[in-house]
């Protein structure tokens, strides 16, 4: 009741009141106590999750703007959804200016942490883990912001997602950095999104390390303006364990950085090692489609200077033996389908399928060494990445 009076006073234009801190402890009734705090929080409040393991049987949700949820560290505060009985994710955020930090989510039945229509959200030092490791019945996405403007993912660790560890979809102004994506189907995926910066991450033991996709038949399309730089993309050699219906089920084991459709993507200063199908793959959307708003080609994709430790030494491709033999034992590190437009820094070897038409499969491939122009001008990085003001919440 006091809270309501306070809220009324705020509405009446009284001076802003100090934000409140609500401290939650693990133990009996944690589900109700935590959910109630998430519902009754007022803008500006902080919900502190004390260290320990919280046994949760239902998904949690937050729908109040400008709230921080803070744990005692990604190994200290664990939200354990192993016995979850309902809801499609562990935690769902649907409000703006939310900061989630310093806690872990384990074994959610669906997605880990989803934020939808939640602008200016910060995910900081979180961990989402399916503890049994790769398994097709693990949830799809670990960190899952969608339909949002302003997304900062910093210092998270995601393991075991049956689709993507960090998945940003249908969003704008995005930074994913300093994070570790291990043993997911896709480590980090930027899908149908614009102005995304993916840097200083480690993607390892996934089926594919870092994916930049644009898909048809979605409310938001036209992905582009993406920079993937200074990432360590190493040993992405886990066999694909995605359920067959998913788009990532088509990702070949051993894909390092993959661009499908999209425009204006820069791949630079990454270290790529042990990605046996293709350290870098640039292709058009592979399926037939009938969405007139959709452009299936990868356009103006720039592969700058990267450190490649070898290429496609064990490609999961039709005719792999012949291909590797033709290229002298292993495929060059950059693979292109020959559609759209690609620029590659001088001295970076690659190969092309030389396709002439989208959606017709590999039957028409005429593999050949890659001969494309180097980038003619500097990549336009303006407006790419999360809004700078999100940084201030990392203290």
């Amino acid at each position: 009741m006091t809270r309501i009076a306070i809220f009324a006073a705020l509405l009446a234009g009284a001076s802003p009141l100090a934000a409140e801190t609500h401290t939650i402890t693990p133990g009996d009734g944690a589900q109700e106590r935590l959910q109630e705090a998430l519902i009754l929080a007022e803008p500006g409040d902080e919900i502190v999750l004390e260290a320990g393991r919280y046994t949760l049987t239902d998904g949690l949700s937050l729908d109040v703007d400008n709230v921080t949820v803070r744990g005692a560290g990604m190994d200290g505060t664990v939200l354990d959804f192993t016995t979850q009985a309902g809801a499609g994710e562990g935690l769902l955020v649907t409000s703006d200016n939310v900061t989630l930090r310093d806690f872990a989510v384990e074994n959610p039945k669906g997605d880990g942490i989803k934020s939808k229509g939640a602008d200016n959200i910060v995910y900081h030092r979180l961990r989402v883990t399916w503890t049994r490791g790769p398994h097709p019945e693990n949830g799809a996405y670990a960190i899952y912001p969608v339909e949002s403007t302003g997304v900062l993912v910093d210092g998270v660790k995601v393991t075991g997602a049956s689709d993507a560890g960090i998945y940003v979809g249908q969003s704008d102004r995005i930074t994913v950095r300093n994070s570790i994506a291990e043993a997911n189907v896709a480590g980090i995926e930027i899908e149908n999104s614009r102005n995304a910066l993916v840097e200083h991450n480690v993607a390892t033991r996934n089926t594919g390390g870092i994916l930049v996709f644009d898909l048809p038949d979605l409310p938001v399309m036209g992905g582009g303006n993406v920079i993937v730089r200074n990432n360590l993309v190493v040993a992405n050699d886990t066999p694909n364990f995605a359920p067959p219906g998913n788009i990532v089920a088509g990702v070949r084991r051993g894909t390092g950085i993959m661009v499908m459709a999209n425009e204006n993507v820069l791949i630079e200063d990454n270290i790529l090692s042990g990605n046996p199908t293709a350290p870098v793959m640039v292709i058009a959307y592979v399926q037939p489609y009938d969405d007139e708003r959709y452009n299936p080609l990868a356009r103006n994709i720039v592969v700058g200077e990267n450190a490649f430790d070898g290429g496609g030494y064990d490609p999961q491709l039709d005719g792999a033996e012949m291909l590797t033999a033709a290229f002298g034992g292993e495929l060059p590190p950059v693979m292109w389908d020959g559609l759209g437009s690609l620029y590659v820094a001088e001295g970076t070897p690659g190969w092309t399928l030389n396709l002439t038409e989208q959606g017709k499969g590999l039957g028409a491939a005429r593999p050949a060494p890659l001969t494309v122009e180097p980038p003619a001008s500097a990549f336009d990085a303006s407006g790419i990445g999360a809004p700078a003001e999100l940084e201030t919440r990392l203290k």
Partner: protein, 335 residues
């Protein structure tokens, strides 16, 4: 349909008759308008005075019972629906056929299991139209069945469905109310659309004759409707509050509203986006003629969190609803 309507009209008439006499002398059974509109969260359901007799679910003056042609599946719960519109206020119809209730109105829905003397009220959900929009609140009935108390964090209750399945029934929390009732960021009613109400009831209650009033088939009589009409009505009522633009599952690109006529938006040969393991081994939401290869039906037939659809509001598979959807997909001509 005619029979249900007659009962409803009769019930309405008898309440009106009763209160026509008593309302002037017994104002206590009038709705507490200030509880509906003022900026507070009443702790007890009785504070609203929606009922002359809450445990028996006898509504107060101007609280009108209504039914839907095709209802939302809720594990077989008996659902008692009421609408309250303050005196002197007018209901209108929006372009999408949703009845527009004026500020001060309330929609009330009680969930009960068991028959006759064994009937147990579980929860009553209220939607209050306040000056700043609709507010959804869940109230949980006590064991003595004398009162229902606000449960913003929801609850889980063990009970047995009419089909004999023992379930852990989920009373939604306040946020989960919005997961279904949210549209473009605001809470909105879902059920009372003209097309899913009896045209006669709308006319009798609000003196309105919307064009599509009563257009959806009566679920009990769905065998007399086309497979498409029955399934599309079911999908609209059970799925489209999330699977439509501006709502919780908008990012899926699946739009299951009654008025949607683009096959791709309805899932026909549409690939999933974020279905994850929910897709099972299937490639498309709806494969014409192949219900068992359709993700849509696959998820409706599951009880497993992360796979099961809808995500909220049910713990068991709706055999009748899935059968209607199966028939629709099976009869759909191949493309």
């Amino acid at each position: 349909m005619t029979r249900h309507l007659a009962i409803l009209l009769l019930a309405g008439a008898s309440f009106a008759a009763a209160f026509g006499v008593r309302a002037t002398t017994l104002p206590m059974h009038q709705v507490n308008d200030s509880a509906v509109v003022e900026k507070s969260l009443p702790r007890l359901l009785s504070q609203f005075r929606f009922f002359e007799d809450g445990p028996k679910q006898v509504p107060a003056y101007r609280v009108m019972p209504y039914r839907l042609n095709t209802p939302l599946y809720s594990d077989g719960a008996e659902k008692l629906r009421f609408v309250y519109v303050p005196m002197g206020e007018q209901v209108t119809v929006a372009n999408d056929g949703l009845l527009q209730f004026p500020v001060g109105s309330a929609l009330i829905k009680t969930f009960a299991f068991g028959n006759g003397a064994d009937r147990r009220l579980i929860e009553t959900r209220v939607l209050l139209h306040r000056a700043d929009g609709w507010l959804a609140l869940p109230y949980l009935w006590n064991a003595e069945q004398t009162e229902a108390e606000l449960a913003v964090a929801g609850a889980r209750i063990d009970l047995t469905t009419p089909k004999g399945e023992a379930i852990s029934y989920r009373v939604p929390n306040k946020n989960q109310c919005k997961e279904c009732h949210g549209l473009d960021g605001a809470v909105t009613p879902i059920g009372p659309k003209a097309r899913n109400l009896s045209a006669e009831w709308i006319e009798a209650s609000f003196a309105l004759s919307p064009a599509d009033g009563g257009a959806m088939p009566d679920w009990e009589d769905r065998d007399q409707a086309s497979a498409e009409a029955a399934a599309r009505a079911y999908l609209d009522v059970n799925c489209a509050h999330c699977h439509r633009p501006g709502a919780t599952a908008s990012n899926s690109g699946l739009d299951l509203r009654w008025e949607q006529d683009d096959p791709k938006a309805l899932g026909v040969m549409k690939r999933p986006v974020a279905a994850g393991r929910g897709a099972g081994a299937h490639l498309f939401d709806v494969v014409p003629g192949e219900p068992d290869q359709s993700i849509l039906l696959h998820r409706m037939l599951s009880n497993e969190p992360g796979v099961a659809m809808p995500e909220l509001g049910k713990a068991t598979v709706d055999e009748e609803g899935t059968e209607a959807v199966r028939r629709w997909i099976a009869e759909m001509p191949a493309r």
